[in-house]
């Protein structure tokens, strides 16, 4: 090989490297290397994932808000009433494992991508974990269901506690999900909690307070209480569609209130965000009027008495009922 050829190959190699770096840099976005997962690395166990978004430090100063949140479904987004976890197992068995091209035929094959149809909203931080966590997660759901079937209370409680430790907590909303338009507003940074002001925050692990431009906007909730099929997934799912209904059937008709105004402020529930199971919400949601009276219908020579019942239902919310 001549010296010229070696030099040219070296130049091409350098150009290729430069192109690769430039492409990677663009795809990553500026500041993506400062996010919690970038700083801590992907979690390899459920315990690591819980630790990565550990919000227990918030309780010291925000106990009331924590207690409100603890009563909400956000605090048990994976376990639910037990039914949510069970439904994830159904989704796995009747869905992922049954589909010809999913690449998974048994629970041990499951990877993070297979679970994001559920986890996108029930556990968005799962995207910050390795496939080992996906396998551990599924194994724990199976163990929970087996323990339930076998009346093994100790194992059931152990698995229930593990699943309850995975939830939509302070840092998931006030950090990870606090910015939707990351190329516009920057990536959520490790060490910062996002809310209504810029400044200092009295917490060693999170010493910075930063403004989330969407924290009081409906789009913030719309990240999970979504639009319809999640087309960004290789196999789209459709669960909550409340934000789609909000955009196209409420704001399009002149509605102006945000999710937070109704579910947090007017309800007085704060971070105990509730739906129909709360009488505060269900009573405010639907006007229900019934008018009933008797009449005798003439059926030829016979009288057929009947009750005439007229029902009027008016949905006072900013989305369809039911939806989520």
């Amino acid at each position: 090989m001549t010296k010229t050829k070696i030099t040219m190959m070296a130049v091409l190699a350098c150009l290729a490297s430069f192109a690769l770096i430039a492409t990677t840099s663009f795809a990553a976005g500026v500041g993506k290397d400062g996010t919690i997962v970038a700083k801590k690395g992907k979690a390899t166990t459920i315990a690591e994932l819980v630790a990565m978004y550990d919000s227990t430090g918030c309780i010291d100063c925000h106990e009331d808000i924590h207690d409100e949140w603890a009563n909400s479904a956000h605090a048990r987004s994976v376990y639910g009433t037990g039914r949510t976890a069970a439904t994830m197992k159904t989704a796995l068995e009747n869905g992922v494992l049954s589909w010809a091209y999913s690449g998974a035929t048994k629970p041990e094959d499951v990877e993070v991508d297979h679970l994001m149809g559920c986890a996108k909203c029930h556990l968005p931080q799962l995207a910050d974990a390795t496939d080992a966590v996906a396998k551990e997660f599924i194994a724990d759901i199976y163990a929970l269901m087996d323990a339930y079937r076998n009346d093994d209370e100790e194992k059931f409680d152990e698995m229930k506690d593990t699943l309850l430790s995975l939830n939509i907590n302070c840092l998931v909303c006030h950090n990870r999900m606090a910015i939707t338009h990351k190329w516009t507003d920057g990536y959520p940074q490790d060490g910062a909690v996002y809310g209504s002001y810029d400044g200092e925050h009295d917490d060693e692990a999170f010493p910075h307070a930063k403004v989330s431009p969407i924290m009081s906007e409906s789009i913030f909730c719309g990240q999970c209480h979504g639009l319809g099929p999640n087309f960004e997934l290789d196999n789209p799912t459709q669960c909550a569609t409340a934000y789609g209904s909000y955009l196209w059937a409420y704001t399009a008709e002149g509605g102006t209130e945000t999710c937070q105004e109704c579910h947090m402020e007017k309800s007085g529930l704060g971070h105990d965000m509730q739906s129909y199971r709360s009488t505060v919400m269900s009573d405010a949601a639907v006007d229900f009027e019934v008018e009933a009276y008797g009449a005798k219908w003439r059926d030829g020579s016979l009288m057929s008495p009947k009750a005439i019942v007229k029902v009027k239902m008016t949905n006072r919310t900013g989305h369809a009922i039911p939806d989520g």
């Binding site: 639907v286 019934v290 019942v309 239902m313």
Partner: protein
Amino acid sequence: MPMPQKMGRGDEMGRGPYEKSGIINDTGLPPGKTVEEHFEIPFYTEDVYDEYDRVIDRKLMDNELEINVKLWYLPYGNKQSDPFIWQDYTQKVTVSE
């Protein structure tokens, strides 16, 4: 209640979120709109027949009828799985004797 379309195609309803990608029909309540329902409920009567098996009279058994109207939310589509009564209204209705 939305009737979600299985895999966004055809006339079949999907089972769980993992199968749903469309809406075929929706009986839910749209925001800001009033939905009206009309029901006609017969009172208890007993028909009287003549010798030729023709109905010649319709006797009212009770001129009072209790009407109960419930607005149900059925998350799983039936009353066996986690049903929720959103509204419950009862009224006595009468007709002349």
